[in-house]
Symmetry: C2
Subunit: 472 residues, 2 copies
Amino acid sequence: MIDLVISLDSTSARPLYEQIYDFIKTEIQNGGLPVAERLPSSRILAKQLEVSRSTVTLAYEQLVSEGYIENRPHRGYFINDLAGLYRLDPVKQRRKLRPDEAKAEEYRYDFSPAGVDLKSFPYNIWRKLTKELLAADSQELFRLSEPQGERELRETMALYLHHARGVRCTAEQIIIGAGNDYLMMLLQLILGDTRICAMERLTYRKAADILKLLGNEVISVEMDEYGLRTDALKHSGASLIYVMPSHQFPLGTVMPVKRRAELLAWAADGADRFIIEDDYDSEFRYKGRPIPALQGYDTLDRVIYIGTFSKSIAPSIRISFMVLPLSLMERYCSVGARFSTTVSRLDQKLLTEFIRGGYYERHLNRMRGIYKGRHDILMDELKKLRHLVEVSGEHAGTHVLLHMKNGMTEREAVESAKNAGIRVYELSSYGLEKTKEMHTILLGYANLSEKEIPQAVRSLAGCWDTYQTKTS
Amino acid sequence: MIDLVISLDSTSARPLYEQIYDFIKTEIQNGGLPVAERLPSSRILAKQLEVSRSTVTLAYEQLVSEGYIENRPHRGYFINDLAGLYRLDPVKQRRKLRPDEAKAEEYRYDFSPAGVDLKSFPYNIWRKLTKELLAADSQELFRLSEPQGERELRETMALYLHHARGVRCTAEQIIIGAGNDYLMMLLQLILGDTRICAMERLTYRKAADILKLLGNEVISVEMDEYGLRTDALKHSGASLIYVMPSHQFPLGTVMPVKRRAELLAWAADGADRFIIEDDYDSEFRYKGRPIPALQGYDTLDRVIYIGTFSKSIAPSIRISFMVLPLSLMERYCSVGARFSTTVSRLDQKLLTEFIRGGYYERHLNRMRGIYKGRHDILMDELKKLRHLVEVSGEHAGTHVLLHMKNGMTEREAVESAKNAGIRVYELSSYGLEKTKEMHTILLGYANLSEKEIPQAVRSLAGCWDTYQTKTS
């Protein structure tokens, strides 16, 4: 039998049994107690430590639970053989995980094309709806939602998408998920194999990255004024296309109906070809009616429609949706539906109420008005830069393209703006491949006020005019 | 030039330009207008229809935007050639997507092992915290969170996990995600290739399904009283193990420290071996202290620790977390961190406040008390069934195992309970492979009140006693 010399601290906040347990555990871990030896009986140790017997028993039982000692009936507690495998290295070497991020550069004006105006979000309504939901049947609210998403939300979405985007689907085809990246992960599992995916030469780079990380090969396809060139697909081996037909990012191209038909014909020409339609910001169009979604033209069951509330409500909302063609529903049910939903029931109900109550439409109308106001002022100001730039992509979205006419390269235009504290964006940074020097700049205006825009544009004119003077 | 015969409805709520646009679009879609022909000029059509010229121009411009017609400068609007590709099939055949779900069967008492008592959730606190957060800086709240999750939450979790579970990590190693299934998807991308994954013969089947759907091969490994048998791994080819060391589901086994050391030694024996530790319900232990997590013993950097708030807060909360070993952090940064977060900033901040404010710990203590009350009553009642069943797995979690001593098979025990309106669960349904007839039943008590448990157990005794009488 082993003799244990334990000094207990009766003034400590730690229970006595924990102190005993800790002492013996540490001794065993450090090899300080001989294997297979018997510990003093609880009666003896209790007497020795002047504690109650149950205190010792509690400590012993915990050690048994964790496997440090063994209780042999009628014989007592014995120390287990940990086979020398157990080593405890109390402090892990702290490795540097990420480089220190360079301090974010400060700009007076940032023409980010990814901006969303969060000042105008109807927080009061959101708060009110949240409060009402939490006040109602909370217990129901905390149960797990269906993998596909709440039926009510999907029904609401089906109606909304039909009415606002010309999408034709039933609630059964809609999958709710926490963001586009997640839905792309899920889609990859539904499609079942990695593919060659065609994207336009200039596009939403993040989507290309995600597709590649998921194992696909992404090929860059030439584009013309109508978008992705279908003739370039012939020998590409692609079985997937990723496009934004209603408002291409970054060029703002609207894909005309003929090109859409050609895309659908391409899909019909192979057994397992699909088109991903990313309808990311169709809500904001300033001339005429919104351009209907490609999905609505698809009689061949080949379009996967993906949309998000990140741009139209807020980036943090983490609710996106995907409309699957019927031909993929069987795969969804056998594969995708096995993954639990990624959106809480509360958030889904909140969004349902937000749409059903007409708040979403009102919010969109209001935002359209706000963005149009900024758009118009920007366009007005840019008229004064006619000698420097040509504008395109101005009918929708929240950015325009400036084609430099003064010979400046993108890099030069960006750098000279930066010196004046203004951030503008190079078109070539949206290229899938390295391209030759371009002369086009993106200006996003979602996050600049009507007062800031003229000031920022005038400063830009200042920088770029100087360049012209210098080189002419 | 084509002659258009359009009948406008001036009493309709639809704007006149939309009616003109719709008429022409439909005609083109149906092939009713000859390709390449010129449309009447806006002046002529306006006069003919007795509308303003701008109304017609608006309709024409929309048709141009969508690619149905073309505006040739100084010549007019011409109908585009849609190459016969365009077909519109207004009503999709509605296929039956899923079989009608069988009407959920009604039980008087359901001993579901997956139950969570939602009645006891501190809704008032949750409401209060939500309200406070929404009232504060809402704009900040709606920005996108870091891919890994809010730093504050990760720091809070690192502290909590250390204190409560013996997990040793920094905030940099923690990834927040919307549910375990999602984190498993992400982990698959981080691990980079599909693997042979070893799981215990009886286990959490959902995890096995997810691993398989992600492309891995899952192999079933024999287990003994200490959990997964490491000697059975030798020639298995496995490079991944999925275990629940602190409280195995469904058996309730606590993996002793020696077996843990053997697992870690197995991992160290190959260059790219990892252990997934699912610490799904470590919070609820009724005897002694909680069993520390395996991750805390891991000095070899091979344990991936996964936990969730589904069981400890609510299934709908959709927040899980994963602690990556440092050796996987580089892969995470280059792959995983490219996927946007799946949890909204509001939910992350809410949870942070819930933990920091001490509400989480209080809630857990309260739930432990509630579950222990139910557990004790159940154990008391089961004493009366000593002649029928032997109980195991009773020290933790929210279910126990009953080993039938009266010769009843699982199926028979389940069926006879069902006839009395009581739902109990077969152990073999948690098997990775079909197993021979077993005699063990699972009884979960999280969702039954202290009043219901005795009634339900008495009914069970009734059914099972009858069987004994019948066959003896």
